[in-house]
Amino acid sequence: MQDTILAMRDITKTFPGVKALQDVSIEVERGTVHAICGENGAGKSTLMKVLSGVYPHGTFEGSIEFDGQPVEFKSINDSEASGIVIIHQELALSPYLSIAENIYLGNEQAKRGWIDWNKTNLEAAKLLKRVGLRDNPITKVTDIGVGKQQLVEIAKALSKEVKLLILDEPTAALNDDDSAHLLGLISQLREQGITSIIISHKLNEIEAIADRVTIIRDGKSIETLEMHSGEVTEERIIRGMVGRSLESRFPDHESNPGEELLRIEDWTVHHPIDRSRKVVDGATLNVRAGEIVGIAGLMGAGRTELAMSVFGHSYGTGISGKVYKRGVEVRTNTVPRAIEAGIAYVTEDRKRYGLNLIDDIKRNISGSALGKLARFGFVNDAEESTVAERFRKSMNIKAPNVTAKTGKLSGGNQQKVVLSKWMFADPEVLILDEPTRGIDVGAKYEIYTVINRLADEGKGIIVISSELPELLGICDRIYTLSEGHITADVPRSEATAEGLMQYMTKYREVDA
């Protein structure tokens, strides 16, 4: 029997010059998990903003029916009052307040204006139990990991008598364990009658948890698939998202590795605060010219820490070990020295560490090698524009021109800007940390193509990724990292996901 909790009909939302949504319709059954898929910029977030009242009634066309009633939300408060709660990708918790305070923020448990702390903490503890979090409700949010913070967000939603929970990329920042826990919790909530809409790029998660999936492409709803029919696979969803079937998610590539470019020997890094803790322990690895080497490891294994410590000691203390470039020892203890030694590090967190979001494409690209464009300390604007324009074309950065602000670009295009910046610096070794995090399938393919092209030019590439299929798809050789130790060095021909996972968890099992 059909029981529709939410029906959005013929939603059209126009921004000056752009039609973000066009006649999008979606129906969500009560007590199901409904996934929404689409490439970046397809209109998923806009649709959710229309639903939650961020774009108030009247600023879009079409109708919304929730719980059998037509609704006209004027603000996010209206939608929350009806039982619709949205949890954004960027968590909206106040770091120096306790878990309980965060849960009841804006909804304080008060008597005559004075907060009833006993009630706040007691009720919070009950909610925490429901989401499977065992921490004390008076713990400060800054002291718990991002996975637990996500659970606090859900507890906060539950405190508001949520009927429809919207999760925007809930597992983007979580490790595998936390992701699994979160997905488990979502199905548990489903049994309690709470309907969820989940937006995700991780198709395997959608396959695992969703009852139905609606695919949005270019601002239009393309199709809604029943996941239980047994015929829906990741490939089927991708075909809907990109509008064609991707022959392969990875471009074909044959590497011709040459001489050794970079060797890192016996590399040890201590934690910047807890100095007794080794984050990277005696790691030795190398990369040859024209070779693509992967580093696989679970969250917390020390992948980013390894890369950033090599790149100008940007992470950690008590760093020891040697770095050899073409067999000659080099010092990389400051970022300018590392760049001079021909090393580039493309960060996993492009918004925080990669880009100046309030500045334009041109200046971001020239940023790491301004000296190349300058004479007597003054930058040659004309040359800078030429260079930026060249990258905009060759990297297919989708922007009207190179003076567009990077903050306004989509994730995939931002990543292309960061890559361009380091390609312009023309390093010999590129360390790419999660190069395709949070970007859509089409843009991923383009990034892989660029990586292959760089390898063909004779550069050494190190790719750090938490997605094993990605490493298996593009790398010639994969190192596994477990608790700061390199546990294996597996050539592509012998690598399997299961095999790598065993090496990645080697030290964890010993510890447990």
Binding site: G17, V335, L355, G371, G377, A382, G407
Partner: protein, 408 residues
């Protein structure tokens, strides 16, 4: 709004270009954030011109306006750079007094030749800046705290150096720094040297704007219609020539105007074209990203404060010379005027955004408000109140604009 040359670069939207039918008016509203500052300046000038029965734009008043506001404008040039980098400097007013005191002692007590004293004072200013820059850059103490300390410490130092007394008078050569004029030629009508300088400045401005436009067209980055470009240049030239003609019919070109002009041109070039300037915008926009791009953020910050120290010293010299008096309580509150000028001129509190021309216009708005209200006989109590509201209104307007354009 990151375009450091500010005045002649339109903001570029990532949105597709509007259809040509949208016309002149909608183009202008799109440029509101750029034009707004000018409109505000003109509106204020016109307002005072009417209410003061034409005194505001009289030759003698324009001359006074420049001389009386020169030190605020000089400070604003350094301050906008500090603020773009995401810092602040509260100590500049006290440094003005301290340097005035040092200059007074050097020139009147030690009998040093004044040009030597000027150079030494600039060096002392640099050392003061280096002192503060060290704590901010290499020790990581927030600039707000370091310079708050400096504000107290250098005020005290000024009092100690002067033994809590005033020093006067100064030799004529030194006084010219603050209140002198370039040599004049001819005895009646418009003074030729001033006219020549005004025409040259106009030509240089138009030539550089034209060159830039040509370059941008070459790379297809130009979205500015020709009529708008011409209108802007015509307006700028008219403004320069108005001031020139008025000055030429009075005592000629004030020396501080020349100093100020050189500072503005030089530092605008530094901020928009030099590697150092780029690095300032980069560390203000995203410090982590800048560091990971190889920018030596600590060294940039350090030299930024050294620079601010030297500029504060220059302002101190000009101020002391203008008043012909070294006074331990000089420069009180200058830091707030300079900071206000910078924010009225469109800089962002969070850093990364701002321009030197913007800060100068912001400083002029404050200066003309001061001047006009004084002529009208408005008390300092009301002056403070009005200036506070103007600062708030200017920043509110900026925020409104950003939101309207769906900015960051």
């Amino acid at each position: 709004m990151s375009a450091p040359t500010g005045l002649d670069k339109p903001p570029v939207d990532t949105k597709p270009a509007k259809p040509p039918t949208s016309g002149v008016l909608s183009y202008l509203t799109g440029q509101l954030s750029q034009v707004g500052l000018f409109i505000a300046l003109i509106a204020i000038v016109v307002f005072f011109q009417i209410t003061t029965d034409g005194i505001t734009l009289k030759p003698i008043n324009i001359s006074n306006l420049i001389i009386q506001n020169s030190y605020i404008l000089i400070l604003a040039v350094g301050m906008v750079m500090v603020i773009i980098a995401g810092h602040i400097d509260l100590s500049v007013g006290s440094i003005v007094a301290f340097i005035g005191a040092v200059a007074g002692v050097m020139i009147t007590k030690w009998d040093l030749p004044w040009p030597l004293a000027v150079v030494l004072c600039l060096v002392v200013g640099g050392l003061v800046g280096a002192w503060q820059g060290y704590w901010v850059a290499y020790f990581g103490i927030p600039a707000f705290i370091v310079t708050l300390g400096g504000m107290l410490a250098f005020r005290g130092a000024a009092q100690i150096v002067l033994d809590n007394k005033q020093i006067a008078p100064f030799p004529d050569g030194f006084r010219d720094l603050g209140s002198g004029f370039l040599p004049t030629f001819g005895s009646s009508g418009y003074e030729p040297l001033t006219m020549i300088l005004g025409v040259l400045a106009s030509l240089a401005l138009v030539a550089s704007a034209f060159r830039q436009r040509r370059e941008r067209r070459k790379y297809d980055l130009e979205s500015e219609p020709l009529w708008w470009f011409v209108a802007k240049q015509a307006f700028a030239v008219a403004l320069i020539m108005l001031v020139t003609v008025q000055l030429a019919s009075y005592d000629g070109t004030p020396i501080v105007l020349v100093i100020l002009g050189l500072l503005v041109v030089g530092y605008t070039a530094v901020m928009s074209r030099s590697v150092f300037g780029r690095h300032i915008y980069a560390i203000g926009g995203n410090l982590s990203a800048a560091q990971l791009s190889g920018v030596k953020a600590k060294s940039v910050t350090f030299w930024l404060f050294v620079n601010m120290g030297v500029i504060s010293a220059l302002a101190g010299l000009v101020y002391t010379a203008g008043l012909n008096l070294a006074n331990p309580s000089a420069g009180n509150g200058f830091e707030l005027d300079a900071i206000s000028a910078v924010f009225i001129g469109g800089a962002a509190v969070t850093g990364g955004i701002g321009t030197i021309p913007g800060a100068i216009i912001g400083g002029l708005i404050i200066g003309i408000l001061n001047n006009g209200m004084s002529i009208l006989g408005v008390g300092t109590d009301w002056q403070q109140l009005i200036k506070g509201l103007v600062l708030l209104a200017a920043v509110a307007f900026d925020f409104y604009n950003k939101r309207r354009r769906g900015g960051l």
